[in-house]
């Protein structure tokens, strides 16, 4: 069984839950940016939670299945040529299946029953766009092998999902270098806007610059996903799925891991703010 990529859309990559445990070698976790949507897509087609699936940015992907199969699409709100979001969809041999352009949210997940079966690198099939590990981004005409390691057939017809907030409030805990900033609480009172140069590595935010009280250079230190790193511009970068394992700018706060899925769906121009985690 193979899935043919008729059109890749804006950007499509193969993702799974990533390669944990290699940060000391300079290898980040990578994996699906919106892990909740990714897991749900796999559940809907009866895959194990970590089976590789496609992460589609903004939509536009067109696929053709070589034999009868089941797929499911989750994440961003996106019109489909057949069936609906968050629900298993049967594809017939040779049938084309297309995603339109997302109207809310940024990333869709397309899981196929059996999982995308490209060769794993360091235990993962995820494309790390920063570390250049894993399969290359999906292009026209690519034939994606599909595995046969599915579990029992799914029993649900539709998984209800909360709608995406238009201006999310992400919960943060203090970061290791909070004391390097003149008024760190300005982070909590500012409404930021997502910059167009955001990607899987980091979500760049525009807003009034955070001023530093310490201007000396920070020796590189390890970072976790959700770190809000503040470069000399004073405008924070929210480290996401493909973030570098170490960084040389101070981290003012860390976004709660559960809220990173919401962050993964932020579109350029959208606003967001932060509040302290309880």
């Amino acid at each position: 069984m193979k899935l043919e990529v008729v059109r890749p859309g804006f950007t499509t990559t193969v993702q799974d839950l990533g390669r944990s445990g290699h940060a000391a070698l300079g290898v980040g976790r990578s994996g699906a940016a919106d892990r909740g949507s990714f897991r749900l897509a796999n559940r809907l087609v009866g895959n194990s939670p970590g089976a590789a699936a496609l992460e589609v940015t903004l939509g536009g992907l067109v696929l053709r299945a070589s034999s009868v199969t089941t797929v499911a699409v989750t994440g961003a709100l996106c019109p489909l040529s057949k069936g609906g979001l968050n629900s298993p969809i049967t594809l017939w041999p040779g049938e084309e299946f297309a995603l339109g352009t997302a109207s809310a949210g940024l990333r869709c997940y397309v899981a196929v029953r059996g999982g995308i079966d490209v060769a794993p690198v360091l235990g993962s099939r995820a494309t790390d766009t920063l570390g250049k590990l894993g399969p290359p981004p999906v292009t026209d005409g690519m034939l994606l092998p599909v595995g046969d390691a599915a579990l029992g057939f799914p029993v649900v017809d539709l998984a209800p999902r909360a709608s995406l907030p238009s201006s999310p409030v992400l919960r943060v805990t203090p970061g290791p270098r909070r004391d390097w900033f003149a008024s760190p609480d300005e982070l909590l009172s500012t409404v930021y806007t997502v910059s167009p140069d955001s990607d899987r590595v980091g979500i760049r935010l525009t807003g009034p610059p955070l001023r530093r009280v310490r201007t000396d250079e920070l020796p590189s230190e390890a970072c976790v996903p959700g770190s809000l790193q503040v470069p000399p511009s004073g405008r924070p970068i929210l480290f996401h799925a493909d973030h570098p394992t170490t960084g040389g700018y101070p981290v003012i706060a860390v976004v709660e891991e559960d809220d990173l899925d919401l962050a993964a769906q932020l579109r350029p121009g959208q606003t967001l703010s932060f509040r302290p985690a309880s």
């Binding site: 290898v27 250049k132 805990t173 230190e221 170490t246």
Partner: protein
Amino acid sequence: MTVRLLPCGRRAVLVELDDVLGYQAALTSLDIAGVEELVPAARTLLVRFDPAVTTADRLGAVLREVSPVDIAASASGEVVIPVVYDGEDLADVAAEAGLSVASVIERHSAGSYVSAFCGFAPGFAYLSGLDAQLHVSRRSSPRTRIPAGSVAIAGEYSAVYPSASPGGWRLLGRTDLPVWDVEREPPNLLPPGTRVRFSAVTS
């Protein structure tokens, strides 16, 4: 020894101290329940933990009591990296350091290095132990592509570029020794703690 514990989300603590690798070795041998991953860097060790098994407070109490072990005594082997010293920045480095090119090469290849930590790219090891006279700044404008195997210096570190990438370090030469290969187990030739020497060879 002073150890500072800095908050870093719900699943990690950042430990700031001097002897990072000695502290990491001590922690590793303690095999503390709930500790999932240790990530060394220049002056810190990130300790990632499973909050279902331990808490930041409980872990912090242990982390404050750990004393670094002497890893120089236990270090095994040494990786020798053959280098053809024909890098594009040799003359600039010599000028900034106030040395001749020959002396730059001699000092770089005479040094005894330790892989302090990895970062920047998979397999990119920051090698400490660089001769103080060779502590030069990065290029003001990074190169867009540096070939894999380039041997370079910046600040207090030397490194071998594991794969082609952009970069701002000063290029001294190149090596044929692959320091990173995902088909190899382990893929990284220079994990933190590895002792390293450079040896000048002719192409």
